[in-house]
């Protein structure tokens, strides 16, 4: 999968990047939650491969009309779609849909559960920079409690043999997080010590007004990534962020733009390649191998 994604990276960088392997296939981006970069990334991936891509953004008003998630699924099923890309605010929504439709379903993020293509693009980014994933120490920092990105990355990185750490205040860690096969830290200097990858998570502003965190300035002071806190990581440690970033909240603005350390923009590029590989693999007929 990562190898296939790699080949798409090269293809995307070449002038001749339009392909037609998915000609005649229909991909629907079914987004129940606002997203710019993930939706655009899937749309671009589908179009590069020659598929017909339709974006459906289901606003809350449509939900108010009374159509349930399953009704929507049945409607789309009747239209003979090949791939449904689903983003939903509720955990388990993608799974529910996949049980009801005949097409392939790609989870583009469900609640605080999973965001698998984000983990794949992160893995691709790391592998291209470091050559491998096994044995690396990866610190995932910030709002783990509400993060699907963190959960998918924990699963993927553990499977690939990386050492995963979580660094967060206790109020932003889910219960029994250590049972996910990670080491838990509550202090950035301890958590980042000698790590190869620092993966920052976005903290929603509404979490910063006293419910989970007292204030933005307190959060940045103790858990925001800056050069000083990064100095305990390995000298060649890379900084990642799934975006969109809150500059000055979870990450120092200069550091986010530091081309020596930050691979945040590269992650976006890898996103398109990974999603092309996903669409490619899921639309092959049975028996056809990568």
């Amino acid at each position: 999968m990562l190898d296939l994604s790699d080949s798409y990276v090269e293809k995307n960088r070449s002038a001749d990047r339009k392909m037609n392997s998915l000609r005649g296939k229909t991909v629907i981006n079914l987004f129940f939650e606002n997203s710019t970069r993930t939706r655009t990334s899937f749309e671009l991936a589908g179009k590069r491969l020659g598929a017909d891509v339709i974006n459906m953004t289901v606003s809350s008003s449509s939900v108010a009309k009374g159509e349930t998630l399953i009704d929507t699924a049945m409607t789309l099923n009747a239209m003979h779609v090949d791939v449904l890309v689903v983003r939903h605010a509720d955990s388990g929504a993608a799974q529910l849909l996949s049980e009801k439709v005949n097409s392939a379903v790609i989870n583009a993020g469900d609640g605080a559960h999973e965001h698998p293509t984000q983990a794949l693009l992160d893995a691709l980014t790391i592998r291209r920079r470091k050559g491998h994933l096994g044995g690396l120490t990866v610190a995932i920092c910030g709002d783990v409690l509400h993060s699907r990105v963190a959960r998918s990355n924990i699963h993927l990185l553990n499977v690939m043999g990386a050492n995963v750490r979580l660094v967060a205040p206790r109020t932003l860690l889910p219960a029994q997080a250590e049972r996910l096969g990670v080491e838990v830290f509550h202090n950035m200097r301890q958590g980042l010590k000698d790590c190869d990858i620092v993966m920052m998570l976005r903290v929603q502003n509404e979490r910063m007004t006293g419910n989970f965190i007292p204030s933005i300035r307190e959060y940045f002071h103790f858990f925001g990534l800056d050069y000083e806190k990064l100095s305990v990581a390995k000298p060649d440690a890379l900084i990642m962020h799934p975006g969109p970033m809150n500059r000055g909240v979870e990450i120092d603005s200069d550091l986010a733009d530091d081309v020596e350390r930050s691979v945040i923009r590269e992650q976006v590029e890898m996103g398109v390649a990974v999603r092309m590989a996903c669409l490619d693999l899921l639309t092959r007929s049975p028996g056809e191998n990568a």
Partner: protein, 435 residues
């Protein structure tokens, strides 16, 4: 009071009391500048250094300076009731060398600037050291977490909503979790607010006869039971302030037996008085939590003896005349306590409930350790914060002679034993009984 740096002072003929090392023996102590230079039974066997000023203790007890972990200062905001200066004078007269103040001032101590203001103002007075608690929730509203990490860096010792109970379970859970991130302590006023809303004294026969509305002792038990569960799921450090009921003591006893990170204090009124002190509507006996029954009083004393209750704190709550000269129901809660902390605590010793050294432990090293203060011990190198007292001298508490601006003592007129003779802070004598 001298402001220049003190030289060497030799305290001779003392009964040294140092709970941390278990020392209770005749001996001497030498201070040099602001620190203790040497201490022990055999000190000065070869004579007192010629350059040292000599203080003859005449057999009186020399202990680490008392640390009072629950004091309400009224500055800033209510300077007519107490100021940092008057509280500092009251403290040293009571043998208290360090006090920890609640954040319920106006403005509330919930930001770094106010923490620094209190610390700076208190330093200027050169009296008892003042360490602030900061609010656990912003504006003490019990809703949003205060900036505990930064407040701790600025000098806040622990976090509490003061005289208000953190009533929302989810808020307290997050406060405990968040505090545990930094290893910080949460101090709770354990009283279910909805049950205390209109109450003015202990619920029971006495309240019924007086026609006053009561606060059930269950108000304390309900919060403590709930909070022990929150401590269990968060692992946060929790301190129950002014425990006053038998059931409360039992809940804490069980929690400690299970190894939960829980500590507790009580105040002299809760082991020395009971609800009968309310008597003829004496508003000076209107405290929060209220004075409880005789059974509760005994249980609190027993809790102190067993170590379920770790600390004795004064719970100093100054109120002016206008706040107390009112019908009982309308009067303010609280009593002053800085100047009566030691003699009333010594009742535990005179009644044979605790050895003298154990009483002093609950007033010195125990609060120091649970608050993370490097204080409360007689050892070379430590700050020379000392209390010299005669444990037996009898006197009668007379609030008119208090240094505190407010005179609202529930112990008004009580005959007691134990008098502070001298209080030393950073090597300087800041109070002298004969002065």
């Amino acid at each position: 009071m001298s402001v220049h740096a003190p030289g060497r002072v030799a305290y001779v003929n003392a009964r040294l009391l140092d709970p941390a090392s278990g020392l209770d023996a005749k001996g001497a102590l030498l201070t040099e500048g602001e620190a203790i230079a040497a201490v022990g039974p055999g000190l000065f066997a070869d004579g007192v250094p010629a350059d040292a000023e000599v203080v003859d203790c005449r057999g009186a007890c020399l202990s680490p300076g008392l640390i009072d972990m629950r004091v309400q200062l009224r500055e800033p905001g209510e300077d007519h009731k107490e100021t940092l200066l008057s509280a500092g004078q009251a403290a040293v007269a009571g043998g208290v060398t360090a006090m920890v103040c609640l954040p319920n001032t106006n403005p509330v101590i919930d930001d770094v600037a106010t923490v620094e203001f209190v610390a700076r103002r208190a330093r200027k007075n050169g009296l008892a050291k003042v360490y602030p608690y900061a609010a656990a929730t912003k504006r003490l509203e019990g809703k949003e977490l205060a900036e505990m990490g930064m407040l701790a860096e600025a000098g806040a010792l622990a976090f509490t909503d003061g005289v208000k109970c953190i009533r929302n379970a989810q808020v307290l859970r997050r406060a405990l979790s968040y505090a545990a991130t930094f290893g910080l302590l949460i101090v709770q006023h354990a009283e279910e607010p909805s049950m205390a809303e209109n109450g003015v004294m202990n619920e029971g026969e006495m309240a019924t006869r007086l026609g006053l509305s009561g606060i059930s002792p269950a108000a304390e038990a309900i919060i403590l039971e709930r909070d022990m569960r929150l401590v269990e799921i968060t692992g946060g450090r929790y301190h129950a302030a002014h425990v006053a009921t038998a059931e409360g003591v039992e809940i804490l006893r069980r929690a400690k037996a299970r190894g939960l990170p829980v500590t507790a204090d009580t105040a002299p009124p809760y082991f020395a008085l009971n609800e009968l002190a309310v008597g003829d509507y004496r508003t000076f006996a209107k405290l929060s939590p209220p004075l409880r029954s005789e059974d509760d009083r005994r249980a609190v004393a027993q809790g102190l003896r067993d170590g379920v209750i770790d600390v004795i704190a004064s719970d100093h709550a100054p109120q002016d005349q206008d706040s107390k000269r009112l019908p009982f129901a309308q009067a303010a809660f609280g009593g002053v306590g800085l100047e009566t902390l030691l003699p009333v605590s010594l009742e535990l010793y005179h009644n044979g409930l605790l050895p003298l050294l154990e009483v002093i432990r609950r007033l010195t090293v125990n609060p120091a350790r649970l608050l993370g203060l490097a204080a409360g011990e007689l050892k070379a190198g430590a700050a020379a914060d000392l209390t010299l007292f005669d444990p037996d001298r009898a006197w009668k508490i007379n609030p008119d002679r208090f240094r505190s601006k407010s005179k609202n003592s529930p112990f008004d007129g009580l005959p007691v034993q134990g008098r502070v003779l001298r209080t030393v802070i950073d090597g300087r004598t800041v109070f002298h009984a004969d002065a």
